[in-house]
Amino acid sequence: MATAARKAPAKSVKSSGLSAPKPADFTKDEELAAYRHMLLIRRFEEKAGQLYGMGFIGGFCHLYIGQEAVVTGMKMALIDGDQMITAYRDHGHMLAMELSPRGVMAELTGRRGGLSKGKGGSMHMFSKEKHFYGGHGIVGAQVSLGTGLAFANRYRENKNVSLTYFGDGAANQGQVYESFNMASLWKLPVIFIIENNRYAMGTSVSRSSAETDFSHRGASFKIPGIQVDGMDVRAVKAAADVATEWCRSGNGPLILEMQTYRYRGHSMSDPAKYRSKEEVQKMRSEHDPIEQVKARLIDKKWASEDELKAIDKEVRDIVADAADFAQNDAEPDPSELWTDIVL
């Protein structure tokens, strides 16, 4: 089975006793759930790309295709009340947190039924009910905010954990390290999940980062880190179990470097000339997160091709319904211009 997307073997963090755990042993139900959730993100994003091309979606639109295992595996370790926050490549995170596909897609098309009533767009959606805190357009800002969510957990003395996502590009922002320092100093329950998809827009990690092992980025702040094969949902789930347990036990923050890959450009308008077609194709054919699960399901005879096709059909129907809603829902009432500015 081709599972390892990582370039170097995962390193143990001696001071913490933490090391990259073996990929989790999934039950049949877990494999099927992971397959279904990742497929929903994949199909949703493909549809979003299509609607962008048709002019239904404007502005910036950053697709998550290729990275589905990261949010899916992390979500499998959460308990009620755990928070999630990320940057602008956020549709997958919203779907993982069970925000309604209709609401997300209608926000992309700027309609009144969108999660932010059409006022946020692709990069800015939130759900207090589902503990999803955005959706942020300023690279790195969500890291301080996510640390603040963890601050609130500690203040309230609950067991919840803040899942704070950012990319290899954001990992070079100053406030990330300001947040690392405070999170470690105050032992805040925050998992810093660095989605290393190898390119900060068009700049490869090796051209932007003096230390390309992002699991070491917390070393100055005594934050342990683990490199994880972010293309294998089982590896992500196993790391998520370790990390959530670490945080819930009062040990403070932890870094998970998810080694992943985005198949599409940085945004819809990025032709991705900075990498070869072969590189993309190799990742797709050898490490695709969904194909890996599919192969295991077939291999273990936990599902037939027909049964998987039926799941695909259900997922496509959900996405088609969301797209249909998003194309036909009315635009926001003009009066909405003036609402929700201050309470």
């Binding site: 939130f126 301080s144 603040g148 100053g174 300001e178 500015i341």
Partner: protein, 461 residues
């Protein structure tokens, strides 16, 4: 020559202090570095060290003296070979208390740089938000701010304060004095020097439902954090379609203090007032500081609360009420008048009030409006006044371009053009970075003369 030991200035804005204790007696020998006395200001107790070697010939200001002016002679040191008994003769015979004119820096600052010290009596209009007959207690702005935070923290367990030196140090300007002792380190949180980061942590905590008070040691440092204030705190409510906002207060000293130069002397009232999604408050009196800070902490929106270091030590009457909360967005008519309207806010009020006294001597009856809130801005009160006086001056310390005054002038010209008998004049800080030199600093700030001249211009005197 015997050496005169002078009352030292311990901070850029200190004008006087209490000589709490002498650690040396007359006749004691001292060498440089010996601690000879303790001085207490409203912010801190500090030790005074001897600079020269010699014998204390005379203690001029006894221990326990309050209100000793900076640069007053507090003791006389006889150096080697001098007669200790004669060294102190004739020195310090006049009292070193507040009445004594203090030499050099304090005096050189003049009324423009230290505007409040001797504010003339202005008949202050009654505040309709304070019930008639309420007992008033003289309170410093510093104490009023602390009381407001303490009261709100007692009332609501979700309120906490975070910032640099707010806890163990008791506040760089002693605004959070005593809060750590009452509320403990969970709710009074010392942060590292990391404005961008802790502003974001505060906003994140607010998005999760807590009610942080984030103190900036000065708003000059908040420029490092302005992305979190504007992009995260101010815009999230709108971007989330009303689902999620940030009930947070960002507070701290704003604007020029004294002699701290360009990077520490900027007024941000106009900056933050530009942003939809923020409320911006800038009180002048201690009563307004208290009532508005309490309102800001309860407000479900992000509130920028702009204080002023020079005002911290000023005392005002504060109503003795169990729960004194003022409305954000409502100006206060500080003094009623009929000939001209002077609108100001924060420390700008000190110029307005002193100018008003001069104008009265010239037979001009000015109305003074203290905006208190910059956003939302109470145009109703301004326009009602302009309809009465037909003339408007705005006084502020901030830079002139795109200033609060310019915005007011624009709105008044649109909403009350027919009532104006003269163009609106804004008296602002000069369009230069704040210089350090005392004389240049004085020139850079607005002054009373400029306000008087502006009023004379619009009243055609």
């Amino acid at each position: 020559m015997p050496i005169e030991i002078l009352m030292p200035a311990l901070s850029p804005t200190m004008e006087e202090g209490n000589l709490s204790k002498w650690l040396k007696n007359e006749g004691d020998k001292v060498v440089a570095g010996d601690v000879i006395a303790e001085i207490e200001t409203d912010k801190a107790t500090m030790e005074v060290e001897a600079v020269d070697e010699g014998t204390i010939a005379k203690i001029v200001v006894p221990a326990g003296t309050e209100g000793v002016k900076v640069n007053a002679v507090i003791a006389v040191l006889a150096v080697d070979g001098e007669d200790v008994d004669k060294a102190g003769e004739g020195i310090g015979e006049e009292p070193a208390k507040a009445e004594t004119a203090a030499p050099a820096p304090a005096a050189a600052k003049s009324e423009a740089a230290a505007p409040v010290a001797a504010a003339p009596k202005t008949e202050i209009a009654a505040d309709p938000d304070i019930p008639a007959g309420t007992e008033m207690v003289s309170t410093t702005v510093r104490e009023a701010l602390r009381d407001a935070m303490a009261e709100e923290m007692r009332r609501d367990g979700d309120v906490f304060v975070m910032g640099e030196e707010v806890a163990e140090y008791q506040g760089a300007y002693k605004i959070t004095q005593g809060l750590l002792q009452e509320f403990g380190p969970r709710r009074v949180v010392d942060t590292p020097i990391t404005e961008h980061g802790f502003a974001g942590v505060g906003v994140g905590a607010a998005m999760a439902g807590l009610k942080p008070i984030v103190e900036f040691m000065t708003f000059n440092f908040a420029m490092q954090a302005i992305d979190q204030i504007i992009n995260s705190a101010a815009k999230t409510l709108y971007m989330s379609g009303g689902q999620m906002g940030a009930p947070i207060v960002f507070r701290g000293p704003n604007g020029a203090a004294a002699r701290v130069a360009a990077q520490h002397s900027q007024c941000y009232a106009a900056w933050y007032s530009h942003i939809p999604g923020l409320k911006v408050v800038m009180p002048y009196t201690a009563a307004d500081a208290k009532g508005l800070l309490k309102a800001a902490i309860r407000d479900p929106n992000p509130v920028i609360f702009l204080e002023n270091e020079i005002l911290y030590g000023q005392s005002f009457d504060v109503p003795k009420l169990d729960d004194f909360v003022l409305p954000i967005g409502k100006a206060r008519v500080h003094k009623q008048g009929k000939d001209v309207t002077i609108v100001s806010f924060g420390i700008g009020m000190t110029y307005a009030i002193k100018a008003e006294a001069e104008l009265r001597g010239m037979g001009i009856d000015a109305e003074i409006i203290d905006l208190r809130s910059i956003r939302p801005l109470d145009f109703d009160t301004i326009i009602a006044s302009v309809k009465k006086t037909n003339r408007l001056i705005v006084v502020e310390e901030g830079f002139p371009q795109s200033s609060v005054g310019d915005h007011i002038a624009n709105q008044v010209s649109q909403r009350a053009f027919d009532f104006l008998d003269a163009p609106v004049i804004t008296v602002a800080g000069k369009d230069v970075p704040m210089p350090y030199a005392a004389n240049l600093e004085k020139l850079a700030l607005p002054n009373i003369g400029e306000v008087v001249e502006a009023v004379k211009a619009v009243t055609y005197r």
